[in-house]
Symmetry: C2
Subunit: 421 residues, 2 copies
Amino acid sequence: MRGRRRLGRGVAVVGAGMSRFGMFGDKDSKHLFAEAFREMLSTVDKGIDPKDIDALYVGNFTNDFFVRQGHWGPIISDLLGHTPKPATRTEGACASSALAFREGVFAIASGFYDVVLVGGVEDMSKRSTEEVTQGLAMAASPYEVKAGFTFPGVFGAIATAYFARYGAKREHLMNVTVKSHNNARLNPKAQFNVSIRDIMNQRIEKAKSKGGPVPSWRDEKEFLRDPGANPVVAWPMHLYDCCPISDGASCVLLVAEEMAKSLTDSALHVVGIGQGSGKGLHAKEDLTYFEATRYAAKEAYDLSGLKPEDIQVAEVHDCFSIAEILHIEDLGFFKPGEGYKAVEEGLTGLSGSKPINTSGGLKCKGHPVGATGTGQIVEIWKQLRGEAGQRQVPIKDLRIGATQSLGGTGGTCTLTILERR
Amino acid sequence: MRGRRRLGRGVAVVGAGMSRFGMFGDKDSKHLFAEAFREMLSTVDKGIDPKDIDALYVGNFTNDFFVRQGHWGPIISDLLGHTPKPATRTEGACASSALAFREGVFAIASGFYDVVLVGGVEDMSKRSTEEVTQGLAMAASPYEVKAGFTFPGVFGAIATAYFARYGAKREHLMNVTVKSHNNARLNPKAQFNVSIRDIMNQRIEKAKSKGGPVPSWRDEKEFLRDPGANPVVAWPMHLYDCCPISDGASCVLLVAEEMAKSLTDSALHVVGIGQGSGKGLHAKEDLTYFEATRYAAKEAYDLSGLKPEDIQVAEVHDCFSIAEILHIEDLGFFKPGEGYKAVEEGLTGLSGSKPINTSGGLKCKGHPVGATGTGQIVEIWKQLRGEAGQRQVPIKDLRIGATQSLGGTGGTCTLTILERR
């Protein structure tokens, strides 16, 4: 039963591509977007002429600050030979290309355009760590930065509040990290496509070859508890709780629903979209959930007529390990205070009942800020079409997936629900 | 007869407000947006509860660079008590809030939302001139900046090409400047609400009171030819050909067409929207027009079924005097090479057949980058409703107006056509 929200015309995803995510000294935003665009074109089953694209939306957070160049809409437009057709940049911090996706949906649903390319890009790694930290801090609320918070601190505070309310411990966050690495190991596009076990073995081999003392970690958690291997950043956020600095691009092609069949027999239909905004840390009534994600979920479930239990696989915005736990609760997959238990029980693993972040998530796939939102769509595209290779989830009749994005301290959150038909 | 473009649902403007534009050491983006929002609310004839606003779009170019804070969607959302409802930032350099307007139109036309606030803000004046120049240069194509161009240079090159092709002279640009100041003199919100004649008189009074030599300019053009009064910036762009650095905010309220009557008896209906993107200076085939404006015009005329001659009053993006001349040609108001003659003949003046920039334009009203697009809508709102006071154009049955925005070197251009019903 549908609620208040509706779209005048259906919209479908018919192609999806991404560059590898990582730190690339020799590739700028244009190189990376071109890679993503070429892959996207190759995924449109029955082919499409790029000249049929009516409009373009590009999410980018802070290339103006990082590479001293703003106004990326027309730059990407020119790159793709798309001028004089329109190109619009959206910015919602780490949710920037999730917003591009939504605006693309509106542009088609309004009846104005039939074919819209939406994507995102970020080029972060060429600046110093100090500058990147300053740049990312511009996504926070003005009060957070003045109070001395950068993002590890913000999410450290959130984790502390969650621990205090629900009795979770740092050990529970490690379950998220281990799962993310296990999934990313199976994703050749991931920045860290290695398991924690791989990293441990590498370290052991290195120590042996140097003739030094050989670490004797018994399991992944012992490795993660070792302050030499996994130093604290802002308690309880340690190095392996935090996503990396990344460069990358991603894009997907949206078309009016009635056109989808002519382009593919396996389109993903946009059945739910939702977005919310939230206050800064100082004004939140409760640190253990994101009001903006809950609002986004309400909108998206309302439009789709679906419930949390209908979502079979999801990518959520795990900029920090604790964030993944909050999101799976805010989206209604698990009750408040139950998310960390679900992860511990393996329910969110590749073979679990609700696989989360099969790509490796932001933590391991990488987080080139502006590229992350549509990058999540790329993963769901692969999963729902059965094209995820070694990390394909073994769910029968897999049809419905979702992506959730978060910008800043929950300032901008989105939920997108896709259905393969 | 309408063409290919259509909207599934009509959209109307039912309120419009702006802060004063100027340089305000004591007001930041939040102060300015609050001013614009309060005025907007006061213009909704039958009143509206701000709680009825479903979503928010904010245009901003470069607050991240100028005031080290990005992610303005949720900040403005929180300011207005709008959380957890969504807020999205759009960026298209100087066209940023024109893009916000268009996304607001799509969001309603799609059927998803009924009431959307769209606006823009920029806080530029607290940085050094050098930093502002660096910041604005991020709107240019990457090649322009590397070649040593800043915007006065870009538009100087464009003016030179226009002069060479059509035989226009620097004197013709002065006609634009004199008209802009005459209009801005009648606009209490304008940054420079003085005529050139007023400025001349002030200078003469000042010289007399100091007992120094008294200037003997016979008319405005003699003043503008005086290199002491109007120094060259990048030939033929002189000081009075260039818009200023400004702070300011503006916003308008969009609703689904069927709701408009319950809010006002004098709504403006969005009958045309168009947007285009363009290449940088190095790749333009011809410097004497903007391909992106022509494309935007094509889309907007197509949707509206209107022709250039149907537009009765327009605000166009006169970041430099030469830009106004190109735009009135690109929009089809005058033939290529005829725009400068139309200005000389007074056709674009307040009492002319096609009044342009009755507000004083960017040159005199001011150009707080992100606020400019919706600021233009505010002026057309006043004109079409007969509320423009001393600068009201004396056209009978005034019903149709338009606003045109330009970002960068024509990287992003838009046209919006509004009709009072």
